[in-house]
Symmetry: C2
Subunit: 338 residues, 2 copies
DNA sequence: CTGAAAGCGCTAACAG
DNA sequence: CTGTTAGCGCTTTCAG
């Protein structure tokens, strides 16, 4: 009880947490002394008795991706606003590492966990988390393609299908007919996007079947052969799994003297910050990334508070039209060169 | 002692930590039972007695910046490799929020803290961290410009000066003479880079004084007037505070019909992933970002292990020459059009 | 309104 | 090799 102000530890504890039942004068004194001594309460000790750590775990697949950075930002912001600290782990797109990270989390007993773009099956994850509520953001286990297997509670995702509908419509309006999809890593988003495009295409007419290029080696760069193939085939428009892939391709196509958008239109996904400064500026589907993160934390917080996990939600995305799908040589449509 | 294998808690504790002094058979039994029961030790309880949380705090200025993402990656990787969990906080480039984040950290008693690009004065920070060792990565308090005030221990930074020397030399070799610097947010890196360029320029001849444009509104985007000014002045080459700024400028200069590199050369700083896929691909100074993060964690870890903080270090950077400083119209130099 | 005491889950010291 | 005991720093009854 070196906590010096000639009062008991109990009183100190109460005073520092502004409990009403403590005399204003003693409270003042306690606070003063605490500050003078530089006293900082120990959360670990507290957590032991209140059975809550004021901590949220966040598992991300790759800190390097700017879109993940935005999600982290939103998550951290919401957590911090409610006095929660976030524990971060990087799974490096590797299920084994994700598992290990969850195990480390488990020892620290976070009050909630969110998995971003995880490849792990959701039910397994929930079991591993034992007691902590879990929220999944853009779950990427392949079985989740088409959203069909997303749990009814505790899942948040951007509406890929809606996004792709908008993309296909936009391209059709621009006169593009022979569309191609450049596949990503074969995860849920990738499959969902591909299928959404194909389906949207079927509803349009005249329609040509979707050509699919891919698949991207896991987290690796495309090798040049893909660009070469595309340069030869010359579809009208390329819809890429994400912005990063789109930029890689545009860059490589430059090497084949294929110009965007003059020779071929390109669409990305995510709307990373560079999309609007690139040359050409990239048409893409904007995910509400920060919001995704914020909502994840918020969902966890209400699960903690109320004891029940809120229902899953799907956040709308937005098509952002920029230069990469607007052929300057053709007013109102690619084919209208007459 | 519901920890069920008819042994005492002490034995369980020892068995689970592979202490030698425990019988192999009982250890096996304990492990089996533990797994069957899904028992996971509580780190908070442990930390209370061993006075160590197995946790490292990381404060970053902005999770959105890809370069910070890489540093986070390195840091997390090194920490995880040593069974440490990282607590992440985002300061949003705001000293007040950084302070609050440090206070939150303090309650969780991380075994070490690193501050990335923080604007806080180092000594103040060390005081706030009380007991935890602190490592600064690329400290950005303006007084740190020119590295002069970096503490002798516990600081890591990329060698901005060396980088700018290389940039100036490269530009001179390419025939560029009228150089300009586009300033950043007025932090230590910004001032250091600006001064390094000016100084390097003085050693070259024939030299013209460095023109400085700026200053970037804190964390905001450049407004168009800057690009207009540059378009009018037409320096030979633009050295930008960082890649992001460089891309913004290139984009805006496009609006003024100023082409890079034909009309003006542009250099960035950081070598974000996008730099090598942009059009034009950007000449820039590559920071060893992942390594910076790894070293920060490593430094913390040895400080924890040995009880003394290692000496400060400066990591070399590397000039990466790409299209944005190579004028295709002029072999070997901008002015050699004869 | 305040203090004394018990106990959160674990480890360390000390016996056996 | 294993059990008993005390105690890490806090919160929470329960008495005063």
């Amino acid at each position: 009880m070196a906590r010096g102000a000639r009062v008991s530890v109990a009183t100190v504890s109460r005073a520092l947490r502004d409990q009403p039942q403590v005399n204003e004068r003693t409270r003042k004194r306690v606070v003063t002394v605490a500050r003078r001594l530089g006293y900082v309460p120990n959360r670990a000790a507290r957590s032991l008795v209140v059975r809550a750590t004021q901590t949220l775990g966040l598992l991300i697949p790759d800190a390097t991706d700017p879109i993940h950075g935005e999600i982290v930002t939103g998550f951290e912001q919401e957590a911090a606003a409610h006095e929660y600290t976030v524990m971060l782990a990087d799974g490096f797109d590797d299920p084994a590492r994700e598992r290990r990270a969850l195990e480390m989390f488990a020892m620290h007993r976070p009050d909630g966990i969110t998995l971003l773009g995880s490849m792990l099956p959701q039910r397994v994850t929930r079991l591993m988390a034992r007691t902590s509520p879990v929220v999944f953001v853009n779950g990427e286990h392949p079985h989740l393609a088409g959203y069909r297997a997303d749990l009814t509670h505790g899942c948040i995702r951007a509406d890929d299908i809606q996004g792709m509908d908008a993309v296909v419509r936009h391209l059709f309006d621009g006169g593009y007919r022979r569309l191609a999809y450049v596949a990503g890593p074969g995860n849920a988003s990738d499959l969902t996007r591909r299928d959404a495009i194909a389906r949207a295409l079927e509803t349009m007419s005249p329609s040509e079947p979707l050509r699919v290029y891919g698949a991207l080696p896991r987290n690796g760069d495309t090798n040049g052969t893909l660009a070469a193939e595309i340069a030869k085939d010359r579809p009208d428009a390329l819809i890429c799994y994400d912005d990063k892939l789109a930029f890689q391709l545009i860059d490589q196509l430059r090497g084949h003297a294929v110009r965007v958008p003059r020779d071929i239109a390109v669409v990305g996904f995510d709307d990373i910050p560079f999309a609007r400064m690139a040359n050409p500026r990239l048409t893409t589907v904007a995910q509400p990334a920060v919001e995704l993160g914020r909502r994840a934390a918020a969902m966890l917080l209400t699960a903690i508070r109320t004891g029940t996990m809120p229902r899953s939600i799907r956040l709308p995305v937005q098509l952002v039209v920029r230069e990469s799908t607007i052929n300057p040589a053709a007013q109102g449509g690619r084919r209208s060169r007459t």
